[in-house]
């Protein structure tokens, strides 16, 4: 029976993959052809979704983008045997865009049926946990430390060091919390892992639990991801039934139970202490640190809080070894980063590469330039709290320290491109507006500063005491940067000041009369 793959990833569905799948099944039934329709994850070439693949003797052949109206035509062209057609892209594995990538965390994404445990295991799944169960806690933690893995949520704190703190904190109860509150605009790698390869996250969390002695885990998932919720819950049930979760996992003495908890639309809950408050059933107010969550975290107990990508990268490290992972990357940024191309980009999608590639390579070689065909004027890297970079900085390599040197951040690896129609003063104003909407309200610089910031940008662009107010804007940014309790208020100045510093011309008064008033 011919296997036909039609993705179930949210982005594929958002472009009609559901209808495409239905049309393929209906047409096959009509013609009396038996097919096995697999709803796989997405390969990440989102500009080509719905991305249909057919299994042939030579390998999987891609047809894309396939809308439901193309289906009859494809059957006529004998696509089930890899027949030629305008949409035929050849063997998927030979597509340059994929071939040039180094997929470690995303090794299985788009290839397997996300909720098939058999598929997962057949593609090296649970090899990492098997190795971990043969090791001591300290050995597992050391492997993660030696791999050089740093928190992929954005803070880039070494994962192994965090785990070591929890390991050495004596307590009856410890927790593993997965931060799946992926709220940064321009990012979707967490969502893809959860929808397209959920077992790798479950395995990573289980390894973390075995390493630090935790018995309960929570995935704090944003409410905007209903498909991820369904997929994760389905995968958890299957993992439990097969003995990979619950009591005595894989016949060992370890217990690990896992539950998905839905967030409720507060961006600030992506901050780890606010997330813990929310999991405890409270308002998501940021906590003072110390104590660190690793010492006093969820319900006051030692807690590992890691991002989805960090946890989903642990299995391959435990499978192939610390050195294998550390061999990728540059400087102190080891391994790979799943980069997400977004915004005004021709070929948007998921690109996993070793650290060190430049923005220019990503924007033009992978991204193909802007979607509108106009010059890319600015990119925002690292979500709404990341700096805007002008064209002169596009040769910066993707590396935590290199980005730090130009007062920018890599964050969660999202890159949002803007063409030359963007008004950067509006983007600065939006950064403040977003901070005002999402502020938890605990600290003054963020709660009040964000609203004052919106007012200041309005004054500046309307020409009211222009020079004086630019200075006030810089002072306000300084206060927020140094006086905020967490990154929300503390990093809002990144987009604001980078916009002002690199695109000062956009902050000039908007109307001619006001311009005359500027000294």
């Amino acid at each position: 029976m011919v296997k036909v793959y039609v993705p179930r990833d949210s982005t594929a569905l958002s472009l009609g993959a559901g209808q495409t799948a239905k049309a393929i099944q209906a047409e096959a039934d009509k013609r009396g052809i038996q097919i096995e329709l697999v709803r796989n994850g997405s390969r990440g070439l989102f500009w080509l979704e719905p991305f249909v693949e057919v299994e042939t003797e030579q390998g999987r052949v891609a047809y894309a983008p396939v809308e439901s109206k193309d289906v009859v035509d494809l059957f006529d062209a004998d696509f089930l045997q890899g027949g030629s057609h305008a949409l035929n892209l050849g063997l998927t594995e030979e597509i340059e865009w994929l071939k040039k990538q180094q997929r470690l965390t995303f090794a299985r994404v788009g290839i397997i049926d996300p909720v098939s445990l058999e598929d997962y295991i057949a593609h090296d799944g649970y090899n990492g946990l098997k190795n971990a169960l043969k090791m001591t806690s300290a050995e597992i933690v050391k492997t993660v430390t030696d791999s050089g893995l740093r928190g992929r949520g954005g803070a880039a704190f070494p994962t192994g060091i965090k785990w070591n703190t929890v390991l050495n904190a004596p307590a009856e109860q410890k927790y593993i919390v997965c931060n799946a509150d992926e709220g940064d605009s321009g990012t979707y790698s967490d969502r893809m892992i959860m929808e397209d390869d959920p077992f790798v996250l479950i395995e990573g969390m289980t390894i973390a639990a075995v390493a630090v002695g935790a018995t309960q885990g929570y995935i704090y998932l944003r409410s905007e991801y209903p498909h991820a919720l369904k997929t994760l819950n389905e995968a958890i049930v299957k993992a439990e039934a097969a003995g990979y979760l619950g009591d005595k996992i894989c016949g060992s003495s370890h217990t690990f139970k896992l539950e998905v908890r839905r967030a409720a639309g507060a961006y600030v809950c992506g901050e780890e202490t606010s997330l813990l408050e929310s999991l405890e059933g409270k308002r998501g107010l940021v906590r003072f640190k110390p104590p660190l969550p690793a010492i006093e975290g969820l319900f006051g107990k030692p807690t590992v809080v890691n991002n989805v990508i960090s946890l989903a990268t642990v299995p391959i490290i435990l499978d192939k070894g610390a050195q294998f992972y550390a061999d990728y990357g540059m400087g102190r940024s080891r391994g790979t980063l799943p980069i997400q191309l977004a915004g005004n980009i021709k070929q948007g999608g998921l690109v996993e590469l070793a650290f060190g590639a430049t923005l220019r390579e990503l924007l033009y070689e992978f991204g193909g330039g802007s979607a509108t065909g106009k010059p890319i004027r600015a990119v925002q890297v690292g979500g709404p709290l990341g700096a805007f970079l002008p064209e002169s900085q596009f040769d910066t390599p993707l590396d935590y320290e290199e980005f730090g040197k130009i007062w920018a951040v890599l964050g969660h690896g999202g890159i949002v491109a803007f063409d030359d129609t963007v008004d950067m003063s509006k983007m600065a104003r939006y950064a403040f507006e977003f901070c005002a909407i999402e502020s938890c309200g605990k600290c003054t610089p963020c709660r009040i500063g964000s609203t004052r910031g919106v007012e200041l940008v309005d004054k500046i662009t309307s020409g009211k005491e222009h020079i004086k107010n630019i200075q006030v804007l810089r002072d306000l940014s300084d206060t927020m940067l140094n006086g905020s309790l967490c990154a929300l208020g503390g990093m809002t100045p990144y987009p604001v000041l980078s916009a002002l510093n690199h695109f000062a011309e956009d902050f000039k008064p908007k109307d001619v009369n006001a311009k005359k008033a500027v000294v």
Binding site: S14, L15, S185, Y225, Y430
Partner: protein
């Protein structure tokens, strides 16, 4: 269950579409919280509503990636078409319009969400079709 308040509020909203203020005394008793604490949590999170919404929820993404692809115009067009602003429901009770800050569909901006389904590369016409589809089944 530890930290049961959010799951409970979700259950209420999933089931009847909102979290009625009349339910606060029952929730506070069941979880040994004050009514003020329950109210505080409900109102902290953008997701929860204390009043019924329309039959369908239409969310338009306002975040940067969608802005880079013209979401600002889309917002204005949809508001004009529906005759409502954000957080309002159309006169026929069909659609409640909400802003959202990222749907994770950023490679195919601008994005909207109708109930639980995301739609990518949207424009006014496609949104109008979506609205018409949900209204007329």
């Amino acid at each position: 269950m530890h930290g049961a308040l959010l799951p409970l509020l979700h259950a209420s909203q999933d089931d009847i579409g909102y979290v009625p203020e009349e339910s606060y005394p029952f929730i506070s008793k069941a979880l040994a919280l004050s009514i003020a604490e329950v109210h505080g949590v409900v109102t902290f999170y953008h997701h929860f509503r204390t009043h019924p919404a329309g039959k369908h929820i239409l969310q338009i993404c306002r975040a940067e990636s969608c802005q880079a692809m013209g979401s600002e115009k889309l917002e204005a067009d949809v508001k004009a078409q529906l005759g409502v602003d954000y957080h309002q429901t159309t006169a026929d009770g069909e659609i409640t319009l909400l802003p959202v800050y990222c749907l994770g569909n950023c490679a195919c901006s601008p994005a909207v969400m109708m109930d639980e389904e995301v739609y990518g590369r949207m424009n006014q016409q496609k949104v109008a079709e979506l609205i018409s589809e949900v209204k007329h089944g």
